[in-house]
């Protein structure tokens, strides 16, 4: 049996990202499903992602410098 065929032969467990009703529809059909409230960082805004990345790098440097003391 191919890997794909064996996959569909198993009981399906679903982790849903995005629209919560997708998970709810599956649950109503007896499929085990959990919904994860994941969103892209900064809603996908590249400028804000870059600013947050600068803060993260800076804080890494601060922690390293403090640790070196």
């Amino acid at each position: 049996m191919s890997k794909l065929a064996s996959f569909f032969g198993q009981k399906v467990k679903v982790i849903n990202l995005g629209i919560p009703s997708f998970a709810e529809d599956l649950r109503q059909q007896g499929v085990e499903a959990i919904h994860t409230e994941w969103r892209p960082p900064a809603g996908g805004n590249k400028k804000i992602q870059a600013l947050l990345a600068r803060v993260e790098v800076w804080q890494g440097q601060v922690k390293a410098a403090k640790g070196a003391r």
Partner: protein, 416 residues
């Protein structure tokens, strides 16, 4: 710069948690509010000029000038307001807060709230009740007459009563009110009742006439929102303790002037980050439609900034009948606010969430990273001057305020 953001925010949170706002008394604005003067009008939200003011703020300014005797008619008041002889400043820059239009003038009586931990004071006018009131931009004769009665009778009676009553710790009172179904922004029924319970015996012992004392008690009894003008300066006092902590990304102010929404951040000192105020979605009184509504207005979002109001809606399920939504929405709003805050209040507990502390200390980094905005519940003013309240509802700040604050923070602190 070797600043650890987490350490700076822990310091900010500790200052908020340690604050102990208590009622110090009542004074006349010009005598007690720092920088107050006869030709200065304090208002809600970030700085604004007369030409940019929305209808309800203009209406309240007109009413304020008539009340002060600086103008006789609304037309005279408008002329004076635009003449350059009147100065305008945000309440927040004078250690105070004002609900809705938030207009305060020199002769108005104001609550004085003291943070017993650091000795600093905050201020707010007394609540006028519902209906046609100055804070919603109404300026008819009944509004001015009520303001005069508040100056001549209500203020002095309460001032005298406070001298006879035991000290009222507002943090304790708010904590109790949360156990009784308030969130002290749009639901103040329990807190107002608790306040009356403290004040009524002392009011009866003052030397004012029976008629004056009875009228004061009736006025307090008739106004479920009377405590709002105390919950706001109490929250201001708690957040004031966290203002200007180097490197902190905790929000210390969220306020609206009816045209713009503005925020201030602890580590960015006094700078305002503004964007156009949003339209509030909610329940309107019969006869009004969305086109009648003014954009978001008032300093009362200081309650949300402090982890109350929309952040504590789970404690006040009945509020959905006033602002819209369902009880499960109210629970979800509170749950979500833990994602953008750095701590939980040690004083304000939410019974339906197993007495979990309210979400406290909005962090701009979390707001931007999660793309999740603070939840505010609020009253809605008619867009035209002189009409008043048309409903209540739910609103968020514009994301731009937080994004601009983040950009300014990076420019100031990050040298990488």
């Amino acid at each position: 710069m070797l600043i650890d953001i987490q350490e700076a925010n822990v310091k900010a949170l500790a200052a908020i948690q340690a604050a102990q706002p208590a009622i110090k008394g009542i004074g006349t604005a010009v005598e007690v509010v720092p920088g107050m003067k006869k030709n200065l009008i304090l208002h809600a939200g970030p700085p604004i000029t007369w030409d940019k003011m929305s209808g309800p703020l203009k209406g309240a300014v007109i009413g304020g000038l008539i009340y002060e005797g600086l103008a006789e008619t609304p037309a005279d008041a408008e002329k004076l307001a635009a003449s350059g002889k009147i100065e305008y400043a945000p309440w927040h820059e004078h250690d105070g807060v004002g609900p809705m239009a938030g207009v305060a003038t020199a002769s108005m009586p104001v609550w004085i709230v003291e943070n017993k931990t650091n000795g600093r004071c905050t201020f707010c006018t007394l609540n006028e009740g519902l209906g046609k009131v100055l804070r919603y931009g109404a300026f008819s004769n009944e509004v001015i007459e009520r303001l005069k009665w508040m100056e001549k009778v209500l203020g002095p009676v309460l001032k005298a009563a406070l001298q006879l009553a035991p000290e009222i710790n507002l943090k304790n009172m708010i904590a109790q009110a949360l156990q009784m179904g308030d969130e002290v922004h749009n639901r103040n029924k329990a807190a107002t009742s608790l306040l009356i319970r403290e004040l009524a015996p002392a009011i009866t012992k003052t030397s004012f006439t029976q008629e004056e004392k009875a009228k004061v008690l009736e006025f307090l009894h008739s106004n479920d929102h009377f405590f709002l003008n105390l919950s706001m300066p109490a929250c201001k006092a708690m957040l004031q303790a966290a203002e200007w902590i180097e490197g902190s990304t905790v929000v210390t102010t969220m306020a609206r002037n009816g045209t713009e929404f503005g925020i201030r951040v602890s580590g960015l000192k006094d700078r305002w980050f503004t964007a156009p105020a949003q339209i509030v979605k909610g329940l309107l009184f019969p006869g009004f439609e969305e086109k009648d509504c003014n954009p978001d207005i008032g300093d009362s979002a200081i309650t949300e900034t402090c982890g109350l109001g929309g952040f504590s809606m789970a404690a006040a399920p009945a509020i959905v009948k006033f602002v819209g939504g369902t009880v499960s929405d109210a629970m979800n709003f509170t749950r979500k606010m833990y994602e953008i805050t750095d701590g939980e209040s040690q004083s304000f507990q939410i019974p339906p969430m197993d007495f979990r502390g309210s979400p406290t200390g909005i962090n701009i980094l979390k707001v931007c990273e999660k793309n999740l905005l603070p939840q505010i519940n609020t009253g809605i003013a008619h867009k035209d001057a002189g009409v008043g309240q048309v409903g209540a509802g739910l609103v968020n700040p514009p994301m731009k305020c937080f994004e601009d604050a983040l950009e300014a923070y990076v420019e100031l602190y990050c040298q990488n």
